[in-house]
C-alpha cells in the first residue's frame, strides 16, 4: 500500500476550527429552554446522612431539587462494580460525595442556593492512607478495604534468594496528580420517559456513559444517546468521571423537563473529579555479584479512594509493568488496590505504569550501586531480548534492542561526557548538575483479554460524491485521532485525505470502537479503520465497479454507481486478536499485551542548594514505537507527556486534608509553566508491529512513565541524595539534604 499520508505531518482535521474559535465545547452549546445545574456535596469524609436542610432566603420553589429518591432506576454509576452511588442516600464515603442536585435558570442564584443547603452528617471514623487502609483498623469498603488484588508468580522466588550474592530492598512512593485538561468537565442533558435520555458532553468514552445511564434510568440501550462535544483534553480524567456528571445532568433534566447544563468550575473539577492513584511499592531484589537478576519480590499498593471505579484495571497495569523490561527467572508480585475516604482515584495517562516504573527504575540504580556497576551496565546485563520472557511469562517475539536505544539516548544526550564534567564541577558549586536515565516499556492496548472482551467495531461509509466517513466511538480529545484515522483511511483507499472525514462520536450513530484510552486508538482502532476501508474498497471491487489498482476518479465514479444501483455503501471491521496471544486471568500470566513500546529517557537536572529547587535542564526521549504515523503529532504526544511527567516528578503536590484536596486551585497546585520545561528532544525508532496500522504501536501514555525515575536518578547523580518519593518538591529535597548534612556531622 502506498504511504501518501501515513508518515507525513498533514494538517490536523479539526485544527482550523480550534484555532479560529469555531469549535464548540459543551459550555459553548446553548438551547432555548436550558437551565443550569449544580451539585451539593458532603462536607465530611465519612458518615451517615441525618438530614438535608434548605436555608432561608432562597426561593426554593423556583428550583428543581434532586436527591437519591428521585432516581428512576438503580442508584449507581455502573462501571466494573456497582458500588458507587450516583447520589449518596444514607452513607457518605468521601468529602466530595454528591448528595443533592439543584437546577435553576439563573446560574448565579444557583450558587447562592448551593451554599444554603446544609447536609447534616453524623461523622464516622475514616481512613486516609494506604497504611491505615491496609492495617484494617477501620473497614471502609467491603470486608477488608481491598478493592482488588493480584498475584504474579514466575519461577520460585523463595528458593532463589540462595543464589543471590546481594539482596537490595527499597520502598518507593508516588503522589496523586490532577489531569488538568484545559477544559473543565461538563454535560448537557435532555431526558424524559418518552424520548429517553440524550447527553452532550466533554468525554473520552461515549459508551461508558451510555452503559452508566441505562441502569440509572432503567432504560434500554436505544433510549440512551451520548454525543461527544468538542473536548478540550482528557488525559484519563474524562474516562469514567463524565458518567457521573451525565447522570446528574440527566436526573435534573428528567425531573425539570428542561435541558440542563452542568459545567464544573476549576475548583470543583480539581477537588471532586478523579486523580492519579497514589502508590507505595516495595522491592526486594536478589542479584549476583556480576549483576544478574535472580529474584524480584515486589509488593505494590495503590490508593483507590472511596469506590472501586477503575482501580482494578489501573492495578493490573501497575502490576504488569512493575518488574520492568528485564529478564529475571524468579518474580513474585503481590499487588493490592485499597480503599480510603478520598474521592475515587481514576484513570490518568499511564494508568498505573508510571507508579511502578518509577519504583523499579529508581530501585535498579540502588541495585547497581550495591554491586558496584554503573546504572547502565546493570541494565545492559538484564535487558529483555527476543525469545525471553517477561514477569507474566510472555515470550517476546520482537527483536527488541534496548542496548541500541540506550546507546542512542546516551549519544544524543552526551551522557558520559556530562557525567564526567558534572563530577568535576559540582564540588563547590551552589547549583549541582546531574544526569540520569530510565529504561522502560509500555504495553499498548487493553491488558490481557481486554481487547477481546471489548470486541471493537469500526464502520466506514461512502457518499455518492466519493467522500468517505469513518464511524467510530473513539474520540478526538486533542491528541489527533481524527487526523490519524483520516490518514489511514485515505491511504487504504488510495484517495486524498480531504475526502475523508470522521463522524462526531454519537452512540446513536457510530458503532462501539471501545474507549479512547490505553494508547489503543491509533494502534487498535486505527487498524480497524484500515480494515474497514479495505473492506469498503473490496465491496466495490467484488461488485465489478472497480479494479484493484484504481485512480481516485475511478473510486469516486464507482461509489456513485454503487449507491445509485444498490443503496448504501458501508463496510465494517471487527477486532480480532493477533494469532497466538494467550492470557490467563486466574494465574495472571501470559501475553499481557499484544506489543510494547520500548524507551530510554535521559534527564539532566540542576539542583539549587540555596532554594532546594531541582529543575530539568535538558531531556532526551528515545523510543521504538513501530511506525510514526504523523511525525508532528507523535512528537507532540511525547513532549506533552514528558512535560506532564515533569510536573508529577517535581512540582505537582496534592495537599490532602481529611481526604479532601486542600490546594484545588492552579495558584497553589504547582503545575509547571512553559518556562519550567526544558527542551525535550524526541527521537523515534521504528520496528513495525505486524498488527498495528502500517506497523504502528500505541504511544500516548509511554512518555508519562519514564521521566520521573530518570529525573530522580539525575538528582541522585547531582547531589548524592537518593529520593524515594515523588513529587520531589523543594521541601522534600530540603529535608533529605538536611538529613544528609546531619548524618555527616
Amino acid at each position: 500500500m502506498e504511504e501518501k499520508y501515513i508518515g507525513h505531518s498533514v494538517e490536523r482535521k479539526e485544527g482550523r476550527e480550534k484555532v479560529t474559535g469555531r469549535a464548540r465545547y459543551v459550555d459553548d452549546l446553548a438551547f432555548p429552554d436550558m437551565v443550569h445545574g449544580v451539585t451539593v456535596r458532603s462536607s465530611v469524609a465519612r458518615g451517615r446522612i441525618l438530614g438535608i436542610r434548605y436555608g432561608d432566603g432562597i426561593p426554593w420553589n423556583e428550583f428543581t431539587i434532586v436527591t437519591a429518591k428521585d432516581i428512576p432506576g438503580a442508584n449507581e454509576i455502573a462501571l466494573i462494580l456497582h458500588d458507587q452511588p450516583c447520589l449518596a442516600s444514607e452513607f457518605i464515603n468521601h468529602p466530595e460525595e454528591p448528595v443533592v442536585l439543584l437546577a435553576h435558570p439563573d446560574k448565579y442564584l444557583l450558587e447562592e442556593a448551593r451554599r444554603a443547603v446544609r447536609i447534616d452528617v453524623e461523622a464516622m471514623p475514616a481512613v486516609f492512607t494506604i497504611e491505615d487502609s491496609l492495617a484494617k483498623g477501620t473497614i471502609v469498603w467491603g470486608e477488608d478495604n481491598v478493592l482488588k488484588a493480584y498475584h504474579v508468580d514466575k519461577g520460585d522466588v523463595d528458593s532463589a534468594w540462595a543464589a543471590a550474592d546481594v539482596i537490595v530492598e527499597g520502598e518507593y512512593r508516588t503522589g496523586a496528580q490532577e489531569q488538568l485538561y484545559i477544559e473543565n468537565q461538563g454535560m448537557i442533558a435532555v431526558a424524559n420517559p418518552t424520548d429517553g435520555v440524550t447527553v452532550w458532553g466533554s468525554l473520552q468514552c461515549p459508551y461508558y456513559v451510555h452503559k452508566a445511564l441505562m441502569p440509572l434510568f432503567g432504560l434500554p440501550a436505544e433510549k440512551i444517546r451520548v454525543i461527544q462535544a468538542e473536548t478540550g483534553g482528557g488525559f484519563g480524567g474524562k474516562e469514567e468521571y463524565p458518567s457521573m456528571i451525565a447522570a446528574h445532568a440527566a436526573l435534573l433534566a428528567w425531573k425539570s423537563g428542561k435541558r440542563v447544563k452542568i459545567v464544573y468550575d476549576r475548583a470543583e473539577d480539581m477537588v471532586a473529579t478523579t486523580k492519579r492513584h497514589p502508590s507505595r511499592t516495595r522491592h526486594r531484589t536478589g542479584v549476583t555479584r556480576d549483576g544478574k537478576l535472580v529474584a524480584m519480590d515486589i509488593d505494590l499498593a495503590i490508593d483507590g479512594g472511596a469506590y472501586a471505579t477503575l482501580s482494578a484495571v489501573v492495578l493490573s497495569r501497575a502490576t504488569i509493568h512493575s518488574a520492568g523490561p528485564y529478564v529475571c527467572p524468579n518474580v513474585r508480585i503481590r499487588s493490592q488496590a485499597v480503599a480510603t475516604n478520598a474521592p475515587p482515584h481514576g484513570a490518568f495517562r499511564g494508568f498505573g505504569a508510571p507508579q511502578s516504573v518509577f519504583a523499579i527504575e529508581r530501585h535498579l540504580d540502588q541495585v547497581a550501586r550495591a554491586v558496584n556497576l554503573t546504572p547502565e551496565e546493570l541494565r545492559r546485563r538484564n535487558f529483555l531480548r527476543k525469545d525471553q520472557t517477561t514477569a507474566t511469562g510472555q515470550i517476546i517475539h520482537e527483536d527488541v534492542n534496548f542496548s541500541g536505544l540506550l546507546d542512542r539516548a546516551f549519544k544524543e544526550s552526551d551522557y558520559h561526557a556530562k557525567r564526567a564534567r558534572f563530577e568535576k564541577e559540582n564540588p563547590g558549586a551552589t547549583v549541582k548538575r546531574g544526569i540520569g536515565f530510565s529504561s522502560f516499556m509500555h504495553g499498548a492496548g487493553f491488558t490481557g483479554s481486554g481487547e477481546v472482551y471489548l470486541a471493537s467495531v469500526v464502520e466506514v461509509e461512502a457518499t455518492a460524491e466519493g467522500c468517505v466517513r469513518v464511524l467510530a466511538a473513539s474520540t478526538e480529545i486533542g491528541q489527533g485521532a481524527n487526523t490519524i484515522f483520516s490518514q489511514i483511511a485515505a491511504d487504504a483507499l488510495g484517495i486524498s485525505y480531504d475526502r475523508i472525514d470522521v463522524a462526531q462520536p454519537d452512540t446513536g450513530a457510530v458503532p462501539n470502537s471501545g474507549p479512547t484510552v490505553a494508547s489503543r486508538t491509533s494502534m487498535v482502532v486505527g487498524n480497524l479503520v484500515e480494515k474497514a476501508a479495505l473492506n469498503l474498497k473490496n465491496t466495490l471491487v467484488e461488485s465489478g465497479l472497480l479494479c484493484d489498482a484504481c485512480t481516485e476518479d475511478e473510486f469516486v465514479r464507482a461509489c456513485k454507481r454503487y449507491i445509485e444501483t444498490r443503496g448504501t455503501l458501508r463496510a465494517r471491521a471487527k477486532y480480532e486478536p493477533p494469532p497466538g496471544l494467550h492470557w490467563d486471568d486466574t494465574t495472571y500470566s501470559g501475553d499481557a499485551y499484544g506489543t510494547y513500546a520500548w524507551a530510554v529517557y535521559v534527564a539532566e537536572v540542576a539542583v539549587d542548594t540555596v532554594t532546594y529547587e531541582a529543575r530539568v535542564s535538558d531531556f532526551v526521549a528515545v523510543q521504538e514505537i513501530g511506525k510514526v504515523i504523523h511525525p508532528v503529532l507523535a512528537a507532540g504526544q511525547i513532549e506533552g507527556g514528558v512535560a506532564q511527567a515533569i510536573g508529577m516528578s517535581l512540582y505537582e503536590n496534592v495537599v490532602w486534608r481529611e481526604g479532601r484536596m486542600a490546594n484545588g486551585q492552579m495558584t497553589n497546585y504547582i503545575m509547571p509553566t512553559a518556562a519550567d520545561i526544558p527542551p525535550i528532544r524526541v527521537f523515534f525508532e521504528e520496528q513495525p508491529y505486524p498488527f498495528g496500522p502500517h506497523g504502528a504501536k500505541g504511544i500516548g501514555e509511554l512518555p508519562m512513565d519514564g521521566p520521573a525515575p530518570a529525573i530522580l536518578n539525575a538528582i541522585e547523580n547531582a547531589t548524592g541524595i537518593s529520593l524515594r518519593e515523588i513529587p520531589a518538591t523543594p521541601e522534600v529535597l530540603m529535608e533529605a539534604m538536611a538529613e544528609k548534612a546531619g548524618a555527616l556531622v
Partner: protein, 287 residues
C-alpha cells in the same frame, strides 16, 4: 463563578473629590477597586468581603511616574508593566523592576497595580520587600486631608495596616540615593512564572572598604506581614562580612522571622531558604 453577580455594585467616580466623598459618607462600605487582579480572584471564588466597589480607573492623579531630584513618585495605579518599562527605575531601583517582572504573568503585569499590591496586604506580595529596602513612603488621601507615612510600619499585622476606611493610597515615594548600593532580590516560588512566593528576599547595602555601612533587608512570606529584618541588619551594620558573621546573622534572622506551615510550603523550608538567601546576599557583598 461562585459569586452572585446581581448582589454587587461598582461605581466609577470621575475625580478624586467625588471618590473621597463617597468614601467619607459611608466609610467601610465601599472597597477601592484598582486593577482587580486580587479582587477578581475572590469574586470568582465567591469570597469577596464587600458588596460595593469604587473603581479608581478615572483618578488621573493616581497614575504616572514622576522623577524629582530627591525622589521618584509612583502613582498608586502604576502597573507592573509600567514599572518594568520605566528607564529611570531600572537603573536606580532595579529590585522593584525585578519584582515587577517576576509577578504573575504578562496579563497580571498589565493590569495589576503597585497600590493594589500594597493595600491587598498579602504577606507573600513580591513588591513590598523591594519597597522596604528602598525606604519607601506612602501617601494617603481622604476628605480629611493628605498624610505621608513611612512604608516601614504601614502594615501592623496580618492584613492590618495604617489606612482608614475613608482613605485611598495615592502615591508611593522612593527617595533617591546619591551613593551606589549593592542590591539583591530573589523570589522563591518553585515555578518560574505564576508563582506565589514561598520566600521572597530583598537586600541592599552600602559598602566601604569591605565594611557594611548601610544595610536594608526585607522578606516576604515568612511572617504575618512583609518584614524588615531590623535585627539581622543591626548585626551586620558596621562590620566586615566573615563566615562567622554570616552564621551568626542567619541565627538572628531565624529568630526574627515567624514562618508557618501552609498548603504552599512548610515553616522549616521557609526558614532555611530565608537563611540561605541571606547568606547568598552577604557572600555577594563580600565579593
Amino acid at each position: 463563578m461562585r459569586a452572585y453577580i446581581p448582589a454587587y455594585d461598582l461605581r466609577v467616580p470621575g475625580n478624586l473629590s467625588e471618590a473621597l466623598a463617597i468614601l467619607g459618607r459611608e466609610p467601610g462600605v465601599w472597597q477601592p477597586f484598582a486593577g482587580g487582579t486580587d479582587l477578581m480572584v475572590l469574586l470568582e471564588a465567591g469570597k469577596l468581603s464587600h458588596r460595593k466597589f469604587l473603581s479608581l480607573t478615572k483618578l488621573a492623579d493616581f497614575r504616572g511616574v514622576e522623577v524629582t531630584s530627591g525622589a521618584v513618585i509612583l502613582g498608586a495605579l502604576t502597573t507592573y508593566m509600567e514599572i518594568q518599562r520605566h528607564p529611570g527605575l531600572q537603573s536606580e531601583f532595579p529590585l522593584l523592576c525585578t519584582a515587577a517582572r517576576e509577578t504573575g504573568s504578562i496579563a497580571t503585569q498589565n493590569r495589576g497595580t503597585i497600590g493594589g499590591n500594597i493595600v491587598n496586604a498579602s504577606p507573600a506580595a513580591d513588591s513590598p520587600p523591594a519597597l522596604l529596602v528602598y525606604d519607601a513612603e506612602v501617601e494617603l488621601v481622604s476628605e480629611r486631608g493628605v498624610r505621608w507615612l513611612p512604608y516601614h510600619g504601614f502594615h501592623t499585622g496580618y492584613k492590618k495596616m495604617q489606612i482608614a476606611a475613608d482613605e485611598l493610597l495615592r502615591a508611593i515615594r522612593l527617595p533617591r540615593r546619591a551613593e551606589p548600593w549593592k542590591q539583591y532580590y530573589r523570589k522563591v516560588g518553585t515555578r518560574k512564572a505564576q508563582a506565589i512566593s514561598k520566600v521572597c528576599f530583598a537586600g541592599a547595602a552600602q559598602m566601604e572598604d569591605g565594611i557594611v555601612r548601610g544595610i536594608r533587608i526585607a522578606l516576604g512570606s515568612v511572617a504575618p506581614i512583609v518584614l524588615r529584618a531590623v535585627r539581622a541588619e543591626a548585626s551586620i551594620r558596621g562590620k566586615k562580612i566573615t563566615p562567622e558573621l554570616i552564621a551568626a546573622t542567619k541565627d538572628i534572622l531565624g529568630h526574627e522571622i515567624a514562618p508557618i506551615d501552609d498548603i504552599r510550603s512548610t515553616a522549616r523550608y521557609r526558614l532555611r531558604v530565608a537563611q540561605n538567601l541571606l547568606a547568598e546576599f552577604l557572600m555577594q557583598l563580600a565579593r
